[in-house]
């Protein structure tokens, strides 16, 4: 296989007024244009008392702008054949939009107006807060989401990464019009914006559209990242999120992984692929293929500006939860203690190198890689040198990354289940358990 065939040109990068940056990836394969307006800060900038503010403030941009009320904005977006959503993570919040190419000009005009001249009506903020709280309540129906939220807030307790981007009912209620206006004035400024445009737009037109988007915004300054490195609380802990009538459990195991800057980051990614990153991984073989205990079993090493979580996920039936949890911990201990074998590493390296073609097969995907590079402050060659980085990983470096990064003594197990059915067996399933607690599923 020729690697050269898989390498693609990186998106064009332009400096705009006031310190804003534009990333452009023209492609005429489909008559669609993707537009991303990303802020260089995200939910980690929220205060603990106002968690959810970044997301609320950016969602408020479509709730009224100069000459248009919320309903008119929504109607205009649809009529142009467009859609837009707000995406929030600890390090960035932004608008992700797509439009039929023939309507890109009026759509950019609309987005620019929403950015430049939002009206932030008080009644719309109150309505959005009620909507957001209703969404938080509704999310309690999804056991996987309940487990993920519990893992995030407990693993990163006291750290900005522990705040849910959507907030809690209490923190959403606390957000005021002044908070939204302050966020807008501080962060929706040219120096804090990265504009991404991909798709059916010509290379000479795209920079003009990007400039049009940010015209009239205050220059401002880029947000400063004060997020500290997270620390893992010592000991093995079990958190059971109690929900009635569960025939099945959601099990998450979590500890700290790496940041994108760590020298052993790619080694950990490769080792993780061996453990739980593919359909033939150790986890899938042992939990699904051999025992049929769960429809899925996987692990992942998340990436951000600071060390992020390494997590394992599986969802066995209630009667299999304890043996499944015990097996997962045993497999994890073996992975950390004995490392990975050369044959396993060679297989996943081939997988990661060859599947790279699917990470860059559309203009929108290439744009998102370029955006991640900027927003997560990743090394410049994180994506462009991905194939070489993966090829450079050895069985020894992969094993070393696991041994030094994954601390199985400091491990958090989160289980969503009916406590009366499984609590005692689960306690017994975790060797060296230091602490076990039960919380109701409506906690957040």
């Amino acid at each position: 296989m020729s690697v050269a065939r898989l390498q693609t040109p990186e998106p064009l990068r332009f400096d705009l007024d006031g310190g804003a940056v534009a990333l452009l990836e023209p492609s005429h394969d489909v008559p669609l244009v993707s537009v991303v307006i990303a802020l260089r800060c995200g939910s980690a900038t929220d205060s603990p008392e106002k968690a959810g503010l970044a997301r609320i403030a950016v969602r408020m941009l479509r709730r009224g702008c100069e000459g248009l009320v919320s309903e008119e904005i929504d109607f205009r977006i649809d009529t142009l054949g467009a859609e837009m959503a707000v995406d929030t993570s600890p390090s960035t919040v932004g608008i992700h939009a797509q439009v039929i190419a023939r309507n890109v000009e009026p759509f950019i005009e609309l987005l620019g107006r929403m950015l430049r001249a939002p009206t932030f009506p008080d009644h719309e903020l109150e309505r959005l807060k009620r909507e957001s709280i209703a969404e938080i309540v509704e999310a309690r129906d999804n056991d996987r989401v309940v487990a993920q939220k519990a893992m995030q807030r407990t693993l990163f307790e006291g750290h900005p990464y522990g705040r849910n981007a959507g907030g809690t009912t209490r923190t959403i209620e606390a957000i005021t019009p002044a908070d939204v206006l302050d966020f807008y004035r501080r962060y929706v400024v040219q120096a804090n914006l990265i504009i991404g445009i991909a798709g059916d737009v010509t290379p000479d037109r795209a920079p003009l559209l990007a400039r049009q988007l940010i015209a009239g915004l205050a220059a401002g300054t880029a947000a400063v990242d004060h997020v500290p490195e997270p620390n893992m609380r010592p000991g093995r802990r079990l958190l059971l999120v109690d929900k009635p009538e569960r025939t099945q459990t959601q099990i998450l195991l979590g500890t700290l992984g790496t940041s994108g800057h760590d020298a052993d980051h790619v080694s950990l990614v490769v080792a993780n692929a061996v453990f739980g990153g593919t359909f033939t991984s150790r986890l899938m073989k042992e939990i699904r293929s051999k025992r049929g205990w769960s429809y899925g079993a996987s692990s992942r090493a998340s990436v951000d500006r600071r060390r992020q979580a390494w997590t394992l996920w599986t969802f066995p039936a209630a009667q299999d939860a304890a043996p499944c949890l015990a097996l997962a911990i045993e497999l994890l201990d073996t992975w950390v203690r004995a490392g990975v074998r050369p044959a396993e590493v060679n297989l996943v390296k081939r997988y990661l190198v060859r599947s790279h073609a699917f990470d860059v097969d559309t203009a929108t995907k290439r744009l998102h890689q370029a955006l991640d590079l900027e927003l997560l402050d990743l090394p410049r060659d994180y994506f462009s040198g991905w194939i070489e980085h993966v090829r450079a990983v050895t069985p020894a470096s992969a094993s070393a990354a696991v041994a030094s990064r994954i601390r199985t003594d400091d491990l958090l197990a989160v289980v969503v289940a009916t406590a009366s059915q499984v609590l005692d067996p689960l306690r017994s399933a975790v060797p060296g358990l230091a602490e076990a607690s039960v919380v109701p599923f409506q906690l957040e």
Binding site: T79, G81, E131, D361, V438
Partner: protein, 463 residues
């Protein structure tokens, strides 16, 4: 003298090539060219092997990747009571051992090549898909041909996979309020047609399957004449076809039994159901009997659904989420099934409100579209959203292959995605009122309400 450009006839060229490569070839391996279908500015070429296998090829040079899909004309509609979920279980078993590949090797070979693979089963079809680097397409050809006729079904593997499927059912249905409500909706709305049972099957049926059931199903439906291979990507068509001929041509022709499906009798009385579950808020499902996907009314019903439910500016979103604040989530969907299905209307009530408050708002909106024509700007809005959605399906090789395979297996027209958009464009406000009057009939609706079960309160927080 003016030279006239020589016109190339792609069909003639392909037929001549097929005749050439068929010389001395066994009957089942003979390639026939059956014509081309315009797919936007591209062309899908239709081929058939002597054993009945249909092959649809779209050369797409956008990226050095290839999507390889195998669609089988078998889904849960082909099952019978007591054996529900067999098509889906079988989809799982197809990733197992074959005569030439030990258990686990199928997936490992794909992963070594960087491929992504998966499968899906629904009421009318089952399909298997791989996405590979373009230079690895032969691997997909070899593996898919192998499992089409050399699958090995062992008792232990069937037992293990039944456990996996039971767990999938717990995940998607038993512990998922939405999944459970949807299953009950179809069970209540249909009395005769196989759409009344879930594709994943009833738990008791999953647990009771025998190895003999699985072998019989495989021999009945996994035949080349019951399959369509769809290939989209950066491939050389002739090399691909020769590889397909060599790999699949040895599979014997097989006759698939004729469908034996009872049509659903007309519903003349409203059906109601209420269930209690440990959920945070009430849910409301209202379903009317809808048109088959191939029915001329389907496009108009889809546009009508978009007017009512599509996006924040839709009528019911404005009314229920924004203005009255009774609901958090709303969806409308016209089932895309071969036979007449449902027009499903879903609402999640806010925790302080009841589904019974939402139902009259639904009814009022349905009455309005039966009585009046929708405004031009509402129609334009709905059409634009549908056009956007259609284009988004075509962004990747996998997306194109899925569209081609789906429309081929359900409608027999692999390029129908583009005709579909044209149908939306032609739809008029009068069409919407006509289909509203035809399908939004109260006596032909099923209403399901999910109520939070207050008795199932969780334990208090405790250390």
């Amino acid at each position: 003298m003016e030279k006239r450009a020589r016109q190339r006839d792609p069909a003639a060229g392909r037929r001549a090539w097929a005749a050439q490569v068929n010389l001395g070839t066994a009957e089942g391996a003979r390639l026939s060219y059956e014509g081309a279908h315009a797919f936007g500015v591209e062309m899908i070429h239709r081929w058939r092997l002597g054993n009945g296998l249909t092959v649809l090829v779209l050369i797409d040079g956008v990226a050095p990747v290839v999507a390889y899909h195998t669609w089988f004309n078998v889904g849960s509609r082909h099952e019978r009571p007591g054996k529900t979920g067999l098509a889906h279980l079988f989809e799982h078993l197809m990733f197992g051992e074959t005569e030439n590949l030990a258990a686990g090797i199928f997936d490992r070979k794909l992963e070594e090549s960087g491929a992504e693979s998966n499968a899906a089963t629904w009421v009318d079809w089952t399909y298997y898909h791989e996405l590979l680097p373009a230079d690895r397409v032969r691997l997909a050809v070899t593996l898919e041909a192998e499992r089409m006729h050399r699958l090995v079904l062992r008792d232990a593997q069937i037992a293990s996979e039944k456990e996996v499927v039971a767990n999938e059912r717990r995940y998607r249905v038993e512990d998922d309020v939405e999944g459970l409500a949807n299953e009950l909706l179809y069970k209540t709305a249909f009395e005769a047609h196989p759409y009344r049972w879930p594709t994943i099957g009833w738990m008791a049926d999953i647990e009771a399957f025998t190895p003999e059931d699985c072998v019989k199903f495989y021999r009945t439906y996994y035949a080349p004449s019951n399959a369509t291979v769809v290939v989209v990507g950066q491939v050389r068509e002739r090399d691909l076809l020769l590889a397909i001929r060599d790999a699949y041509g040895i599979i014997p022709t097989q006759t698939v039994p004729a469908e034996d499906i009872l049509p659903e009798p007309q519903q003349t009385v409203e059906r109601r159901l209420e269930i209690r579950k440990p959920t945070a808020s009430e849910k409301l499902l209202v379903a009317f009997k809808g048109p088959a996907f191939g029915d001329v009314d389907h496009a108009a019903m889809t546009v009508l659904s978009e007017v009512l439910f599509g996006g924040r500016a839709s009528r019911l979103y404005r009314s229920l989420v924004v203005e009255r604040e009774l609901a958090t989530d709303l969806r409308g969907w016209v089932s895309t099934f071969r036979d007449p299905g449902l027009f499903e209307c879903w609402a999640t009530a806010r925790s302080t409100h009841s589904a019974l408050e939402i139902l009259p708002v639904f009814e009022d909106a349905f009455a309005r579209v039966r009585a009046d024509v929708v405004a031009d700007e509402e129609l334009a809005r709905a059409k634009s959203r549908l056009e956007l959605g259609s284009l988004q399906q075509l962004e990747t090789a996998s997306g194109k292959a899925e569209q081609i395979g789906f429309f081929e297996i359900v409608l027999g027209d692999p390029a129908h995605a583009f005709r579909r958009v044209e149908s939306y464009r032609r739809t008029t406000a009068s069409d919407l009122r006509r289909v509203a009057r035809r399908y939004l009939v109260d006596t032909a609706r099923t209403v399901l309400r999910v109520v939070p079960d207050a008795s199932a309160a969780p334990a208090q927080a405790a250390q």
